[in-house]
């Protein structure tokens, strides 16, 4: 390929420190952690997520309407919620600019950090998770792994084109350390522990 490429690689090879140390094995650091949902919840809430208890059988459309009474555009990437904007009709991601509430189902979540995992498969359009004013996530409590070591061993990680570990709403403390939720992307992230349809 390019001359620069060859020069960089040659310089890196010539200057490589010796002796080389072997690649270490990374354990999964398992501790006794029975209550994954509780640990997930405290991590999630620590970074500003809103955890809402879910009574099995409740009407999700009604719950969302009640929590976001002023929402005009609801875009759902899950079969459990109808919404009024069809993701399949979206040609350009910028069309999602007016979405008030988006609904997604993370493939899995991490108890240690309170993070949810979303890839292009779960988002449909990647920008959905960022342009919407509010994001609602339906998480099956059975989909929670203990820590990041387990998360990074999930086979979906290396095959996703895009994937995010999302932990709470967009946030900043860049001015005097004052915490602001909703810096750029979503203003709130709400999580409902809803099992997947059998």
């Amino acid at each position: 390929m390019s001359a620069s490429r060859d020069m960089i690689l040659a310089a890196v090879r010539a200057n490589a420190p010796r002796p080389a140390i072997p690649m270490p094995q990374v354990p999964t650091f398992d501790h006794d952690s029975p209550a994954l949902l509780d640990r997930f919840r405290s991590g999630f809430e620590l970074l500003g997520g809103t955890f809402v208890d879910y009574v099995p059988g409740s009407d999700l459309n009604a719950m969302i309407a009640e929590r976001f009474p002023r929402a005009k555009v609801i875009c759902s990437a899950v079969p459990e919620v109808t919404g009024n904007r069809n993701l399949r009709d979206v040609k350009e991601p910028a069309e999602l600019d007016d979405v008030d509430v988006a609904v997604v189902r993370p493939a899995f979540a991490v108890a240690e950090t309170g993070s949810i995992w979303l890839s292009e498969t779960e988002l449909g359009v990647n920008a959905l998770g960022y342009l919407a004013q509010h994001l609602v996530a339906l998480l099956d409590p059975a989909d929670i792994v203990a820590n990041l070591h387990h998360a990074y061993r999930d086979p979906r990680f290396p095959t996703a084109g895009y994937a995010v570990l999302m932990t709470g709403p967009s946030a900043t403390a860049d001015i005097e350390g004052v915490l602001i939720r909703g810096a750029q992307g979503i203003r709130s992230l709400t999580l409902l522990p809803v099992p997947r349809a059998p």
């Binding site: 390929m1 620069s4 490429r5 960089i8 690689l9 310089a11 890196v12 090879r13 200057n15 490589a16 420190p17 010796r18 080389a20 140390i21 072997p22 690649m23 270490p24 990374v26 620590l46 970074l47 500003g48 991601p93 910028a94 600019d97 240690e112 292009e120 990647n126 920008a127 998770g129 960022y130 342009l131 820590n147 990041l148 998360a151 990074y152 990680f157 290396p158 084109g161 895009y162 994937a163 995010v164 570990l165 999302m166 932990t167 709403p169 967009s170 946030a171 900043t172 403390a173 860049d174 001015i175 005097e176 350390g177 004052v178 602001i180 909703g182 810096a183 750029q184 992307g185 979503i186």
Partner: protein, 458 residues
């Protein structure tokens, strides 16, 4: 290149007590939060050891891992470019933008593009560049470089931000409400996300095994920059490589805990392939890194994951402000990286340290920062880059410490001198220690006198 005078620049920062006091307290608070998180993880030290070993292993096999990364990235449909230095990097980025007729570039924070001084290069060629991280945007609008690698505007108070925003974004003059200021940035940046033809990110980690890379932000601005435009360019320093996806478990657990004292950044984003209908370009940048790799004492600085923990804990950094270092990288990590770019210009920086070692003890990848600072002092002295006063003083001190009789005579004379000398003889230009502080009252006798009286008589 003129030698940078860190002490002089710091004295300007210190002159404003309100800013200095806030800066010191804010960064110390980050350090305390980091401690809380670190102490909450029983395997913390084990994670640091692993992180250090993974990085050292990777750097020893870096050429192989770079080739593996490139191979996989190309397989993923990514275009990979290589840049030897800043000029080549900037030209590559401009050429990619030109080929797509892109006029507007939204970007998330990247220390590498700061290092390459990319923004002015593109702006001179008609590209509008929008920094989208709030702190970085404040700095861009104020025409200042970032003063901290994680919190770029940490040296500013809300009044400063209000002034900058009123001047540049048209916010209400004098409205210093932080929510209002942040919301103003959100409102004015969003249209750029929606219409920009190109987006740019850096990378915190690049994974050889997948050809993918990871970007960590709290605002989600990297994701906005990458998920809307049809063109995504990622500039990545060659030292960001790690071998495998599972290694991310170690680094992501350490990064934000060390940086801000939070368990993870709000958004830890993994990019591997271009979106359908979009292009993804990666620019792998050397810019001095391969040369640094060959420096027996100093290649360890390439392990750095840019968390800023060493800056937050450093008593000199906290009280002098990042801009006083006059370099892209400030604080302890800057002190050991900057001289590799220009040893004369940055020859003063390794002296901006008390060698207390706090930086080394918080570093998540176990870089021996304070040892390296000491070693840089030696290199600078050997290359004759010491300023005259320091050199003359050191020479005199060397003679003194090398001769016990002379030393003892001088010591008791010093005690008398501090008590008897007029103030101008102590607090003058030749004695920087007397500039911001009172010289302590000398003890009545030296340790040696005390020892002879109390220990040798028995």
């Amino acid at each position: 290149m003129r030698r940078l005078d860190h002490a002089e620049a710091a004295s300007r920062f210190i002159a404003d007590e309100k800013h200095e006091a806030f800066h010191d307290a804010r960064l110390w608070d980050l350090r305390k939060k980091r401690d809380r998180e670190a102490h909450g993880i029983p395997e913390w030290e084990e994670l640091r050891r692993l992180a250090s070993e993974i990085k050292e292993h990777t750097l020893a096999h870096l050429a192989d891992y770079l080739e593996e990364f490139e191979r996989n990235a190309v397989k993923n449909g990514v275009t990979v470019h290589w840049a030897r230095d800043a000029a080549e990097h900037n030209q590559i980025v401009f050429d990619i933008l030109s080929a797509k007729a892109a006029k507007t570039l939204v970007k998330s924070k990247s220390m590498l593009t700061e290092e390459c001084d990319m923004r002015p290069f593109l702006e001179r060629r008609g590209i509008e560049v929008i920094e989208t991280d709030l702190g970085e945007r404040i700095q861009q609008l104020d025409d200042e470089p970032p003063s901290h690698i994680v919190v770029p505007a940490v040296h500013k108070l809300r009044g400063d931000v209000a002034t900058v925003f009123a001047r540049t974004l048209g916010t209400e003059a004098g409205n210093e409400d932080v929510n209002y200021l942040a919301e103003s940035q959100r409102r004015t940046t969003r249209p750029y996300f929606l219409r920009a033809e190109a987006g740019m990110t850096g990378a915190n980690f690049a994974i050889a095994e997948t050809g993918g890379f990871v970007v960590c932000t709290n605002e989600g601005n990297a994701d906005l920059s990458a998920s809307l435009p049809k063109l995504h360019i990622a500039s990545i320093g060659i030292e960001k490589l790690i071998p495998r996806v599972e290694h991310l478990g170690v680094f992501i657990r350490l990064l934000s805990r060390s940086a801000l004292g939070s368990p993870i950044t709000q958004y830890t984003s993994h990019f591997r392939t271009p979106r359908a209908g979009a292009e993804l370009h990666i620019v792998l940048v050397d810019n001095g890194r391969s040369a640094r790799l060959g420096m027996a004492d100093f290649w360890y600085s390439l392990k750095c994951i840019r968390c800023g923990a060493c800056m937050n804990t450093c008593p000199v950094y906290r009280r002098s402000g990042g801009l006083s270092y006059g370099a892209t990288y400030s604080g302890p990590i800057g002190v050991i990286i900057d001289p590799t770019f220009d040893i004369r210009k940055y020859s003063n920086l390794p002296f901006a340290s008390t060698l207390n070692g706090s930086c080394t003890s918080v570093c998540p990848v176990k870089i021996d920062i304070h040892d390296q600072i000491y070693k840089w002092r030696r290199v600078i002295a050997e290359r004759n880059q010491l300023p005259f006063v320091k050199k003359a003083t050191m020479k005199a001190a060397g003679r003194l410490f090398g001769n016990p009789k002379l030393y003892r005579a001088a010591l008791s004379a010093t005690g008398t001198a501090i008590e008897d000398l007029p103030r101008f003889a102590i607090y003058n230009w030749f004695n920087p220690w007397g500039r911001q502080r009172e010289v302590p009252q000398p003890p009545r006798k030296t340790f040696r006198q005390w020892y002879i009286e109390n220990r040798t008589k028995r």
